[in-house]
């Protein structure tokens, strides 16, 4: 699943460690989320949304295959 976490973090001039501390998770988890290797839990996704001031569905974009 694609997400805008890295873009949001860079836009705010934060390091991965700083974002991790703000969210209450480890730096490795922020790395995993940004690379799409880990889907955060609902509470963590909501915290991310609140931190960036954006709806969760704008940050996390499920990749959908559209057949026409």
């Amino acid at each position: 699943m694609r997400n805008q976490v890295r873009e949001g973090r860079v836009h705010r001039g934060l390091s991965q460690a700083e974002l991790a501390e703000a969210l209450g998770v480890s730096r490795q988890t922020v790395i995993s989320i940004e690379s799409g290797r880990y889907l955060p839990s609902l509470p963590l996704a909501l915290r991310i949304g609140r931190f960036f001031g954006m709806p969760v569905e704008r940050i996390f974009d499920p990749e959908e295959e559209v057949s026409e």
Binding site: V25, S26, Q28, T29, Y38
Partner: protein, 138 residues
């Protein structure tokens, strides 16, 4: 626990061997302590401060370790039987592991033992009959 193991070795094989075991235990403890302070997944797990993702990492690692141990016990069991040795410790391992697995399924699974009846039937734990879902009902 490591010291208890060293004491057991000391009783059975002499205190020289126990000293070696105790040194090995202390070295492992020191390694775990140092690794537990590192900024890594292993450090967070061993340092008892995992976040939600690292809890999953720990669970997967434990599951992998258990599977490998089970396989090792299976090999040991087969070799012991082939050599006509006492294999009851391996029976104990398999029995305990299998029982723990079933207990885990019961403990961590979701249980809904009520029979699901048709719409309009009464659930065992509810007084009112079940109604079909309608978003207009709220």
């Amino acid at each position: 626990m490591g010291s208890a193991l060293a004491a057991a070795v000391g009783v059975s094989r002499g205190w020289g061997a126990a000293s070696g075991v105790e040194v090995a235990v202390l070295l492992v403890a020191a390694f775990v302590y140092l690794l537990g302070g590192s900024d890594s997944d292993a450090g967070a797990v061993l340092g008892n401060r995992p976040d939600e993702r690292q809890v999953l990492v720990r669970l997967k690692s434990q599951a992998l370790a258990m599977k490998v141990m089970y396989l090792g016990a299976l090999i040991g069991w087969a070799v012991t039987i082939a050599l006509k040795g006492l294999y009851w410790p391996f029976d104990l391992i398999f029995s305990a592991g299998g029982l723990a697995y079933l207990i885990g399924l019961r403990l961590y699974g979701t249980h809904d033992d009520r029979p699901i009846g048709p719409i309009g039937s009464t659930d065992a734990l509810q007084d009112s009959p079940r109604e079909p879902y309608n978003s207009m009902n709220g």
